[in-house]
Amino acid sequence: MADTTVDTTPTAPRRVVVTGTGAIASVGNTAADVWDAIRNGRSGIAPITRFDAEGYKTTFAGEVKGFDPVAELGRKEHRRLDRFSQFAIVVAREAIAQSGLDIAADPTRVGVLIGTGMGGMEIFEQGVETVLTQGPRRLTPFFVPMMLPNMASGNVSIDTGAKGPNFATISACASSAHAIGEAARMIQAGLIDAAIAGGTEAPITRLGIAGFNAMDALSTRNDDPVAASRPFDGGRDGFVLAEGAAALVLEDRDHAIARGAEILGELIGYATTDDAYHMVQPGPDGEGLARAMTIALESAGIAPSDVDYINAHGTSTQLNEKNETLAYKTVFGEHAYKVAISSTKSMTGHLLGAAGALEAVITLAALREGVLPPTINQTEPDPECDLDYIPNVAREAEAKIAMSNSMGFGGHNATLILARADVR
């Protein structure tokens, strides 16, 4: 495909920077509030209120608090949006406002990629229940357009007016890392000048909890929800399901500089691989993740020892952290014991398809503020997880380059590498 839309003159490659972030999660309803909670080690995990969880093996989750969809989206509009689309619109607006990007100036040059793991799960569940109990003719005409996983991306484009490439990338819990990486590739290729990229998830429904419970994937520490998500800790017993969204405005660096935008950081590396091993288990020794990290380092043109901080996938499951730790040792060698690693899922819970984007937002804040967020609930060391996981308390540290890892059921791995704005 001879791409004539691209300037093929041999100039310096286009660089991709971040000019805006937005987030909503169990720990806060804006990117700033999320970061404030994370750096202070506050957990957002609490008993479930979205439905009556009595009789469920797990009765707690990372719910967003105080979210008013009517105020945010309007009385009529909010009814036509599943919660996952509502979150996506809110974080996209926040990210665009921070970036100052004027989409209307050139709408066809701005794309939207919002990943999700489950799509409109709540409406899906309600719709099926209606069909099964009340018959097919009682189903709302908004069922299909509310449940489709691409509707977060579609709705963000409708809300913001962005007319460039638009779709969702889906890779379970790596979805939004893929969205960010693929959006960056489009900017580099010159197909667009900016993109709204991220992820969203609203999985705290009966089926969400029951489904992951059936897999024994969730923590059942019902008597102490705040202590339930304990990645890398010896006492970990599963992840904590959570909801929320995060979006980044990614932009061609020259474009951002020309319009005088503040640059929050630069995306300098991305890679994606697959284990091709098992439906839900990670590949042996974290081979696929190790390969993703290695390719991402190559794409960034840096050595493993250049990485100052890693935001781990760290779900708080036995298998994940064992494999992830092995992958770090494979890729980083001796440096694996020196690099600071943390899993902020210990506080936010696991946002599935939104996790990668939320953790990218957190990682950018860590680089900007020189504060590395902790992994909370570290009380009992696991001999197989013997790296520096920044236990319990945030650490002030000069960090220039950071990596964020994501993995998903199906064997998907995605690695992003971010640099502080002044590094390159």
Partner: protein, 420 residues
């Protein structure tokens, strides 16, 4: 991100070396093509569930599919949509002769779906509300999720490169193919398994599209229900199946002596940013996607010899799409054969773009453009050459395939006859 930089190697070209499909018209890509070409339809009364009481009681169902062909044990752990993906991907790779194990990290898998594991989802909700949360299967989540098709295909075939699902409703697999091609031109991979799969013929699937008024209700005459571009059209019909292409770096394919079926020369992807499900009257987003694809292919509109339309047989789609084609092709629009093959296959939703890509490639290879079935009554303003009812011999060098999806997604692919 230097190794990710497309500008590093703009000389790589992307060819198709294998296709695999299963649809209501045929259990293979060849059988599907022959059915479409010869004007057969796979539309019949629904047997997947009892459609009594539903507004629409027919669909393009695959008859006699034996799921055990994906594996005696494995098929139980796959929703029907992943079974279709597996069958299609195996067939495509077999035809291509690609030895994935020779360099597994250089072969990726990207597939699309709109409804994903809807049958499993439905059964699981049934279990949940009738028997309680603790009776839900541990396979429910992994069977339902939209990315498990590419995940399972990677396991089945051993492909370890980039892997995820694309979701843009009914443009999904066209996006998957176009984006997979960019990964090859960027040098990230040497080959990609790209396409889509869909199994939406369930109670909720049919009820959901019926509630929108999107489906034809011509229950007394399913064979003639879908009438793209015809004045009497009254909606679409759901189809199920899978369609997968092996895309490959042209030099890679030539070096290993592969047969090249066609070349992918253009791709455009846009958003309407307009409405949840409606199209803007001027089809602006589709117009722009066609133009970007033509520019990408470095072609003038009149060089397109065949256009496989999105053509869903809904009032809005066929009118707006016709206008968009007129806008892009201008005075040449009436001279270009345009057909919608959805009257044969039904609407495969997330798999439609890939299915129609395979049909488009076959049309180029055989020099036959497939017909639009059930096309008898023209409508003022919807008046292009829709290749009514009967296939036509035509030398086609370049062909375009359009896809659009709820949410305002547009994706356009252009294939060329192989120059080897």
């Amino acid at each position: 991100m230097s190794t990710q930089r497309p500008t590093s190697d703009r000389t790589r070209r992307v060819v198709v070396t294998g296709v695999g499909a299963i649809s209501a018209v045929g259990a293979t890509a060849t059988a599907t093509w022959e059915g479409v070409r010869d004007g057969r339809t796979g539309i019949r009364t629904i047997t997947r569930f009892d459609p009594t009481g539903f507004e629409t009681t027919f669909a393009a169902e695959i008859p006699d599919f034996d799921p055990t062909i994906v594996g005696k044990k494995e098929h139980r752990r796959m929703d029907r949509y992943t079974q279709f993906a597996t069958v299609s991907a195996r067939a495509a790779v077999e035809q291509s002769g690609l030895d994935i194990s020779a360099d597994p990290t250089r072969v990726g898998v990207v597939l699309a779906t709109a409804m994903a594991g809807i049958e499993t989802f439905e059964n699981t909700v049934d279990t949940l509300i009738t028997r309680g949360p603790r009776r839900v299967s541990p396979f429910a989540v992994p069977m339902v999720i939209p990315n498990i098709a590419p995940g399972m295909v990677a396991i089945d075939l051993g492909a370890k490169g980039p892997n995820f699902a694309y979701s843009s409703a009914f443009a999904g697999s066209a996006n998957a193919i176009g984006e997979a091609a960019r990964m090859i031109t960027d040098g990230l991979v040497d080959a990609m398994i790209a396409g889509g799969a869909e199994a939406p013929i369930t109670r909720t699937g049919v009820a959901g599209f019926s509630a929108m008024g999107a489906l034809s209700t011509r229950n007394d005459d399913p064979q003639h229900a879908i009438r793209p571009f015809d004045r009497t059209r009254d909606g679409c019909i759901l189809g199920e199946g899978g369609a997968v292409l092996v895309l490959e770096d042209r030099d890679h394919a030539i070096t290993r002596g592969a047969t090249i079926l066609a070349e992918l020369v253009g791709y455009g992807s846009t958003a309407d940013a307009f409405h949840l499900v409606a199209l803007p009257d001027d089809g602006e987003g589709l117009v722009r996607a066609m133009r970007i694809a033509l520019e990408d292919a470095d072609l003038r509109p009149e060089q397109i010899g065949y256009l496989n339309a999105h053509g869903t047989s809904t009032e809005m789609n066929d009118r707006v799409e016709t206008g968009a084609i007129r806008e892009v092709f201008g005075e040449h629009a009436p001279a270009i054969p345009v057909s919608s093959t959805k009257a044969s296959t039904g609407h495969l939703l997330g798999a439609a773009g890939a299915m129609e890509a395979i049909i488009t490639i076959a049309a180029i290879a055989e020099g036959v453009v497939p017909p639009t079935l059930n096309h008898h009554e023209p409508e003022p303003g919807v008046d292009l050459d829709y290749v009514p009812n009967v296939a036509r011999a035509a030398e086609v060098t370049y062909a375009m395939s359009n896809s659009m999806g709820f949410g305002g997604h547009n994706a356009v692919l252009i294939f060329a006859k192989s120059d080897r």
